[in-house]
Amino acid sequence: MSEVLLNPQVAEIGHDDAHHGHHHEEGFVSKYIFSMDHKTISKQFLITGIVWAIIGGLFSVFFRMQLAYPDQSFPWMEDLLGRWAEGGRIKPEFYYALVTMHGTVLVFFVLTAGLSGTFSNLLIPLQIGARDMASPMLNMLSYWFFFLASVIMLSSLFIQTGPFSGGWTAYPPLSAIGDMSPGSKLGVDLWITSMAMFVVSSLLGGLNYIATVLNMRTKGMSMTRLPLTIWAFFFTAVLGVLSFPVLFSGFILLLFDRNLGTSFYLSEIFVQTTQTALPNEGGSAILYQHLFWFLGHPEVYIILLPAMGMASEIISTNARKPIFGYMAMVGSLFAIAILAFLVWAHHMFVTGLNPFLGAFFVLLTLLIAVPSAIKVFNWLTTIWRGNIRFTPAMLFALGFVSLFISGGLTGIFLGNSALDIHLHDTYFVIAHFHIVMGVASFFGMFAGVYHWFPKMFGRYLNNTLGYIHFWGTIVCAYVIFWPMHYTGLAGMPRRYYDYSQWQSFKQFGDLNVVITIAAIISFMLQLVFVFNFFYSIFKGRRLTTQNPWGSTTLEWTTPINAGHGNWPGEIPEVHRWAYDYGKDGKEFIPQTVPVGADESKH
């Protein structure tokens, strides 16, 4: 076995499990806290992600309250937020801090760490047939760097000058000069430090995923027999490894500009509040945007690809049909991964970017719609003439496809620079990326949680709560974000604290109330899920069968509560691809079953 040579530690575990059947007793600390078992680390990522999602979601409830009721005061808000909501009204600088933290937390901590951290960790070893990651030690560090990043970010909420409030994109000079806004003081330094820790965490995780997928597949598991989940996690990791360092460099230069008097991003600035002209000249604020979006755009796909992979797997399993066009699915993931690096400046069409250069970014951006369209049509063909079981996971996977279509199509508007001149930084953009990247990826993540929860905890989630969660959430998601396309087309800018002074935008007051109510209901529904999650860990219906969904992939060949090392005996050998559902009249054929002599070819 190749992993024996690569990693003596894994070999040792495998040896133990193979010959003695059970592992030696671990202490609480090494089993649950500084664990090196990929399954435990994935749970750590997931639970930390859930905590952050609640915090990030709650922030959105607060700022939605402000948008719906700009002229009312809520005393309970002051009880909860103290001087940030004096008199029961959120202050503008805190409103912007909420918006900033909502974005940062959900994009990075929930949909990057919580999504790919959870499922890459859980599924890569289990689905490729490995005992653990290439380096369990680095894997553990990956989580703990994320935890450190979390602690630093959380601490920034409690400092005197408040958390960073310059938007999750942190454009200088606003983020570079403390006098520009209270949130640009210590809050930014903590934000950057936290993000730097997060980048370290991502890189440790990503390198591990890549090494594991490339080197530690079990016998017979060629790359083209990998489930699409693994392909998606693999490309996700590659995207992260190549783009996070660029973001990191952007942040370091920002830190220099802030604290060491350099002028990478600063030029010809006069500070209004202190009435002083800064000495910095010759820097470019636009340089930061290039560095930021060089990660920022791949980041969108870092968030989306795992959801695509899991949706593919879950749709195929529950439609009891092979995924349609496996190679086209892999090919389109690959195309998306490549194109993800070549489109970053479409976030910068109105920065004064050279229009000729902009033209290439238009072309490449709209090109991404082709692999995306292939994926959608392949999913549709996968459910066509299937025999569909609507588990909560399947519903969320189908909901993902619906949202991906809705949000993906509006990307065709924004990617076209001529239209972007009008739509840039309006609510149209908010609607677009929340649907396609936010809610859709959340749906992919929920699908994954519902589908693999039995593998993680040996128990089921409650189905009825799952159905309530799904139907409520998809209705709320559309009610919240669909009308925002219209407000965007009215030119309504994002990140405004109050629209009532504007002749052009004040007509949407009632609509904002509707959206806010839907957002609050949606938040409550997520609490139903959170309750279901934690309750079911301890009290859920127990799993009685190893393979509850009738799945072909390797993770379902492990015992219900697998120990460190995953398989008690030898790692099974793989003989076929992962999607033999409904073949030759058989319900499904697991990957471990050798190809029969009379089996039809495809």
Binding site: G282, I286, I374, Y486, V528, H602
Partner: protein, 356 residues
């Protein structure tokens, strides 16, 4: 304690939902897993169909309600923006068809192919023909959109017409300042280190071109006359958002940007068109710039050439405000008032020579 009551109610609702969920799980265990699954499968399949129908109806209703509130209802207020509107409609038709088609297929297939006793899923792993079809058709469609889009893009971002008037707009926390080149048609030099309370743009008074530059508090534009905006920022990145004209451009400190367009209707005409007697062309800051970002409002008055000349004539060059002793109208109050009016009027008619 209103909030506690509310929380109590919410907690009760949670509890009820939880009890129902728990009970239904027991029932399904009693009934047998297969039977329970069949039942919930039928319910969910029906809900898929219901969601499709209600969703499409909801989208239509939303459109009826909100389409008239968007800017498309009033048409573009700039000639260049018309192209953006037509581009938008083309994209909307194409994506609209795809949207309706794919959503119908998704939810209809889900409903139609729900698990049924005796049904076998069709083993259909790939089809090169189908895959080619849905690679090539989107590729062609997108090519069309790219070609149209880029044609408009190059036109809009291209050089401003020679006869454009020139206006400088400068963003700062949290407001806009405007500057017109005056009689000579040239905007005077400025330097950010010269900024002080009496010279808010940092104009270099040694440059004579500055002496006639005018700074009104509202941006006046002339109907039908192209205008080129030179956009600056004094501190952080702002953005000159002109939703009615369908345009926007960032204001970046240290890097001037430009934007040009031709207003189609005067403010008065827009008040009639929109039926809103308080209508204004608003300049919207579209780039988060600090705590009062949401209040960074500017106003553009589009007027006829005659009205424009009158408004400009009322203004006194900033130079004279900064140095009242240099102002000829202060030296000989009686006669020069008329003179300076004449001079300012001349400024307006003078062709724009400045090239920034």
């Amino acid at each position: 304690m209103n909030i506690w009551l509310l929380l109590l109610v919410i907690a009760m609702i949670f509890l009820v939902i939880f009890q129902i969920a728990k009970a239904s799980e027991y029932v399904s265990v009693l009934k047998g897993e297969k039977k329970a699954r069949e039942q919930s499968n039928r319910v969910n399949a029906f809900l898929m169909l219901a969601f499709l129908v209600l969703g499409l109806a909801g989208a239509y209703w939303c459109n009826e309600l909100l389409a008239k509130e968007t800017l498309f209802a009033q048409g573009s207020a700039s000639i260049e923006g018309e192209k953006i509107d037509s581009m938008f409609m083309l994209t909307l038709y194409i994506t609209g068809i795809v949207f309706i088609l794919t959503q119908i297929l998704l939810f209809w297939f889900s409903f139609k192919y729900q698990e049924k006793e005796g049904r076998k899923a069709y083993f259909f792993p790939h089809s090169t023909k189908l895959e080619l079809i849905w690679t090539i058709i989107p590729a062609i469609t997108l090519t069309v959109l790219v070609v149209f889009g880029l044609r408009h893009w190059f036109k809009i971002t291209g050089d401003a017409p020679k006869d454009s008037m020139l206006v400088e707009i400068t963003g700062q926390q949290f407001g806009w300042q405007y500057r017109y080149p005056g009689v000579d048609g040239v905007l005077g030099k400025k330097k950010y280190t010269l900024i002080n309370s009496g010279n808010t743009l940092g104009q270099d008074w040694a440059d004579k071109a500055n002496h006639d530059d005018l700074s009104p508090t509202v941006m006046y534009l002339v109907k039908g006359k192209p205008v080129k905006l030179v956009i600056n920022s004094k501190d952080v990145i702002h953005d000159v958002g002109l939703p009615h004209f369908r345009l926007k451009m960032d204001a970046v400190p240290g890097i001037p940007t430009t934007l040009w367009f031709t207003p189609k209707w005067t403010t008065e005409e827009m008040r009639e068109r929109t039926g809103n007697p308080e209508f204004e062309y608003e300049i919207v800051c579209d780039q988060l710039c600090g705590a009062s970002h949401y209040a960074m409002r500017g106003v553009i008055k589009v007027v006829s050439q005659a009205e424009f000349d009158v408004e400009m004539a009322k203004l006194k060059p900033t130079y004279f405000v900064a140095f009242p002793d240099k102002d000829p109208s202060n030296a000989k109050p009686a006669t020069v008032a008329a003179d300076s009016t004449k001079a300012a009027t001349a400024a307006v008619v003078a062709p724009v020579k400045a090239k920034i």
